[in-house]
Symmetry: C2
Subunit: 283 residues, 2 copies
């Protein structure tokens, strides 16, 4: 595995690979790798000749009151994990390398942002779309891998790729779950034992909504009500949101059809959990 | 020469060329080709294996009161010219192909726009930067060619390429001039004969400023005054602006150093002419 810290060298390395006709699988991260990242790397490894992992804690996507400076970082641990996962190139630029001076341009995301978690993070997705634009131009990937757990991020990047015509195939990788259905997260360890048990209701409620859709239910409010009832009656979690949108447009719809996402966030004592399910409704 | 009208086909054609290791020279235009465009095409032809010309009148860069619908178009004439200049691919998409639905993202240009001609065209350069981002992703050029006559556009695109790390070499092609120094323009035919004679003062005044710099003058205001005096005394043209900035940052400077641009716009009876000179000042 080669560690590259400059944009110029990374582009030169990638051009060499592309001239040899190699496909490039790209996993952009902010580091502090967990099982979700490793799933993305494995998938990239299976589908491409070359795997590139980037580690860059992007200041542009943190709000002024957010935790840019305290965001967890452990490069040596990440490097060892990447090496063991057979990554070919680890791109690890500094902030000064990525943003040497105030940028004359930025990407502004015009929709898909004012819902779900984006509602409370103005400018966050502009920062995400801007750094992904830069990283795509630096790595020139054939395929880029993102976890669908952050479905709104995937929706925004889908819009970026489609509307800016990036010659990149976006791969949204399914949520990895524990045996009892709870979506894997490094934060799950912060659940108390009874909360850990209760938290299984999140995915169960999503599946119940899916069943209801299969049996013909199409009303968004009815389904949201069903999910909220299940979570409230089966757990002490406090519901942050339960929402249903078209996917990836993230537009509210009363009568459901086509591809939709059911997304929820629930607060437990020390941790807020998110989960979602994307469903294709055929008429 | 192959005429391509869809993004998908264009990207597929370009990937074939790139896999063969071919360099791609790209000349983006809004069509109605004139001698300036042909100069860009010739330069691209000399320096690359493959030459791509795009013709797309981009609605995003026209203001609500500007002339998008009446902008001159003559595809058959342009096609014949491109063919005779040995262009390999002519990319000619429709507006519906480039903007099939409201875009979820756009490029916002954060500086270099609020001076010169950009001052009176809010949003114009956002539209330019957005369509160039799309075209770069579609054509994937090795080199892209722009005329330095529109120096502000070149400055904005230089920022776009640098700050978004596009793997594209930007080539700013010198202004082509008549024998008497007047910058070539399709609009020159709209000068009355006496104005055509007077108009030579534009370039002469730029050269006089350059001479003054060579002889040690570094004060921006003194040089601007010199140019304005020359134009006013030697022509009936009405000065729109004479400005000096750092280049490509387009920042005002009182004491000149480094790379600078002197740019001017002068109105004659039926036509407004622009010209500029970029000078490297070594201390």
């Amino acid at each position: 595995m080669k560690v590259v810290t400059t944009i110029k060298e990374m582009q030169a390395e990638m051009l060499v690979q592309k001239k040899q006709g190699k496909s490039i699988g790209f996993v952009p991260t902010m580091g502090f790798l967990h099982e979700g990242h490793l799933t993305l790397i494995n998938r990239a490894r299976q589908e491409n000749d070359i795997v590139v992992l980037s580690i860059f804690v992007n200041p542009l996507q943190f709000g002024p009151k957010e935790d840019f400076s305290t965001y967890p970082r452990d490069f040596e641990r990440d490097r060892a994990l990447a090496e063991s996962e057979d990554v070919d190139f680890l791109f690890f630029p500094s902030v000064a390398e990525m943003y040497p001076h105030p940028s004359s341009v930025k990407v502004v995301v015009q929709d898909r942002t004012d819902v779900l978690c984006g509602k409370s993070r103005p400018g966050h997705f502009d920062g995400v779309a801007t750094v992904i634009t830069k990283l795509f131009n630096i790595v020139m990937p054939t395929r880029a891998y993102f976890g669908i757990k952050d479905a709104q991020q995937v929706a925004v990047i889908e819009g970026l790729v489609t509307d800016f015509n990036f010659p990149v195939q976006l791969i949204a990788v399914d949520i990895v779950r524990e045996n009892d259905g709870l979506a894997k997260s490094s934060r799950n360890v912060n659940l108390f034992p009874d909360e850990r048990q209760q938290a299984t209701i999140l995915y169960k409620s999503l599946l119940a909504a899916k069943d209801a859709i299969t049996q013909g239910e199409r009303n968004s409010f009815t389904l949201i009500h069903l999910i909220k009832e299940m979570i409230t009656s089966e757990s002490d979690g406090e519901i942050d949101y339960v929402e249903i949108f078209s996917y990836p447009e993230l537009i509210t719809m009363e009568e459901l059809n086509g591809r939709i996402i059911i997304a929820l966030a629930v607060k437990f004592t020390k941790v807020r959990l998110i989960d979602n399910l994307i469903i294709d409704i055929e008429e």
